[in-house]
């Protein structure tokens, strides 16, 4: 196990960043789908 607190902290930050990225990616895809969906079903 890695006991270097700095390396662990960096790993924790990166893991949190990946979670942030998934949320933002989901938002981007949702906007894309919403616009095309509303053009199809909103008329």
């Amino acid at each position: 196990m890695n006991n270097d607190p700095q390396a662990n902290e960096l790993k924790r930050k990166r893991a949190q960043a990946v979670r942030t990225a998934w949320v933002l990616g989901f938002i981007a895809v949702a906007i894309f789908v919403t616009f095309i969906g509303s053009a199809i079903f909103g008329r």
Binding site: K13, R14, Q16, A17, A21, F35, I36
Partner: protein, 543 residues
């Protein structure tokens, strides 16, 4: 001993602890497979400069054709391909990647992070771009020619593009994917990778403006992707989203496009606001005036950019209430923008100003961008817009915002941070020559276009009535001069990177503030491997 780490302490701390100069040795490992934010930033900046020269060459074709009335050099269809490609290349290939390049270099160094949060995705974000633009530019050599309906791609005109249209749409999709991934990376980095003590309201303005820009990108690039996907299916799969004959609505495209397109304008200019807010304090030797109001003004501009889109389409026949709403909402943007301009002026007021090249470009930005902003206010007035719409007045307006606006800010940023990036000083004499020739020629190029527009000359035409001849000739002379002047810029950058013998110090300038100046010039390949402890006296606005 004081518990506060001083500016100098931090500098020493990092000289002591950074032993991170372990570059990959092979060319492919260093540049194709790189995950280093500095290398990826460099790739973005080189790509952007290449696209700037490509888009500039197209502008030269346009101005050469418009030098005199009548058709001289190119076929009308090719002229329209040039106007369309010039815009797409400059917006998506030159300005946006340039800002991403600076973000890659600077955001980690400014917040005390060792790298971007998602380095592999960072590599992918960049390497999509050369393929996207190769595909886009290749359409010029296809039988059906490149897109010629303008960068706005309004149907039904754009649906007359031949089979090359599929390449254009796919290229735009790839650019969008690249921008969204880049933005996700920037937001994830700023939210998660800040050094201890780097609170949100201690972040440099460039980081703040990029954070807000990244949110704009994530919100609107999928909208553009949706719009061009619908164009694609209308063109190749017999759908009728925008085909009136099939029950579709071409005006709906304009609404969707401009819902993307107006925030896009701010995507191009907000990072410029950040750069100017970094440079003016350094050369005025004063803290930035009204830091928090600058942050709130940036956020307000971003919010308002979502509710003004229809000012681009006043003439399509909207209800009067709609036109009034979009008119007043647009005028409202001048309030936070005015806050920024007055804060910049207040920053310079009674400062010990010196006029190195970055400062000259920054002051040029403030003056000339404001001219573009004021002509924007004129265009916001619905009744007046019926006269200005689709004329050269609009061309003059947005070029004042984008050329002495975004491009001047990019030049300022290059001169300001290039010594930090390379460890070499550029030639101040040639930098100043570049500025003055640019500042004069850009006005000769674009100012007469206001008069052409007011006199009724329409945009996107290769020929015009003889009464427009004089101003067009002056504008073209300005264009050729501005184009040639940018070769000086390429020369100055090349000399600074490869030939300059004058070494830059860590600070480069007289007491600039910000974490990037605490690193050596050039910074180690892996900087801030030990996170710095950030205190309030290390950020300029907290003085």
């Amino acid at each position: 001993m004081s518990t506060e780490t001083t500016y100098t302490d931090v500098n020493e701390t990092h000289d002591e602890h950074d032993h991170g100069d372990h570059k990959p040795t092979g060319f492919l490992d260093r540049w194709l497979f790189t995950t280093n934010h500095k290398d990826i930033g460099t790739l973005y900046l080189i790509f952007s400069l290449t696209m700037f020269m490509t888009g500039g060459a197209m502008a030269m074709v346009i101005r050469a054709e418009l030098f005199m009335p009548g058709l001289q050099l190119v076929e009308p269809d090719f002229f329209n391909q040039m106007t369309t490609m010039h815009a797409l290349v400059m917006v998506f290939g030159a300005v946006m990647p340039a800002w991403v390049g600076f973000a890659n270099w600077l955001v980690p160094m400014m917040i005390g992070a060792p790298d971007m949060a998602l380095p592999r995705m960072n590599n992918w974000s960049f390497w999509i771009l050369p393929f996207a633009f190769t595909m886009l530019l290749s359409t010029l050599f296809m039988d059906s020619g490149g897109p010629a309906a303008g960068w706005t791609m309004y149907p039904p005109l754009v649906l007359q593009t031949g089979t090359s249209f599929a390449f254009v749409v796919f290229a735009i999709h790839m650019m969008g994917v690249s921008s969204i991934m880049g933005s996700i990376n920037i937001i994830a980095t700023i939210f998660n990778m800040r050094a201890p003590g780097m609170t949100l309201l201690r972040m440099p303005m460039f980081v703040w403006t990029w954070l807000i820009t990244a949110f704009l990108l994530i919100a609107v690039m999928p909208v553009l992707a949706g719009a061009v996907t619908m164009l694609l299916t209308d063109h190749f799969f017999a759908t009728n989203f925008f085909n009136a004959a099939g029950g579709g609505d071409p005006v709906m495209f304009q609404h969707i496009f401009w819902f993307f397109g107006h925030p896009e304008v701010y995507i191009l200019i907000l990072p410029a606001f950040g750069v100017i807010s970094e440079i003016l304090p350094t050369f005025s030797r004063k803290p930035l005036f009204g830091y928090s109001s600058m942050v709130y003004a940036t956020a307000t501009i971003a919010f308002l950019s979502f509710i003004v889109w229809a000012h681009h389409m006043f003439t399509v026949g909207m209800p009067l209430q709609g036109e009034l709403f979009f008119m007043y909402a647009t005028m409202l943007i001048s309030v936070p923008t005015g806050v920024k301009v007055f804060n910049w002026i207040s920053t310079m007021w009674q400062g010990s100003m010196t006029f190195e090249t970055p400062m000259l470009f920054a002051i040029g930005f403030v003056v000339l961008f404001t001219i573009g902003g004021l002509s924007g206010l004129m265009l916001a007035i619905t009744a007046a817009d019926f006269q200005y719409h689709d004329t050269y007045f609009v061309v003059a307006h947005f070029h004042y915002v984008l050329v002495p606006g975004s491009i001047f800010a990019l030049m300022a940023a290059t001169y300001y941070w290039l010594p930090k990036f390379t460890g070499n000083m550029y030639s101040e004499k040639w930098g100043k020559i570049h500025f003055w020739l640019s500042a004069i020629s850009v006005n000769v190029l674009f100012f007469p276009q206001h008069y052409l527009g007011l006199a009724g000359m329409p945009r996107r035409i290769p020929d015009y009535s003889p009464q427009f001849a004089d101003f067009n000739m002056i504008s073209s002379i300005g264009g050729f001069a501005f184009g040639a002047t940018q070769l000086i810029f390429v020369g100055v950058v090349w000399h600074c990177v490869f030939r300059s013998k004058v070494k830059a110090t860590a600070m480069v300038w007289e007491n600039p503030r910000g974490l990037e100046w605490t690193l050596e010039s050039p910074p180690a390949y892996h900087s801030f491997t030990t996170p710095p402890e950030v205190t309030h006296n290390m950020v300029r606005h907290a003085e």
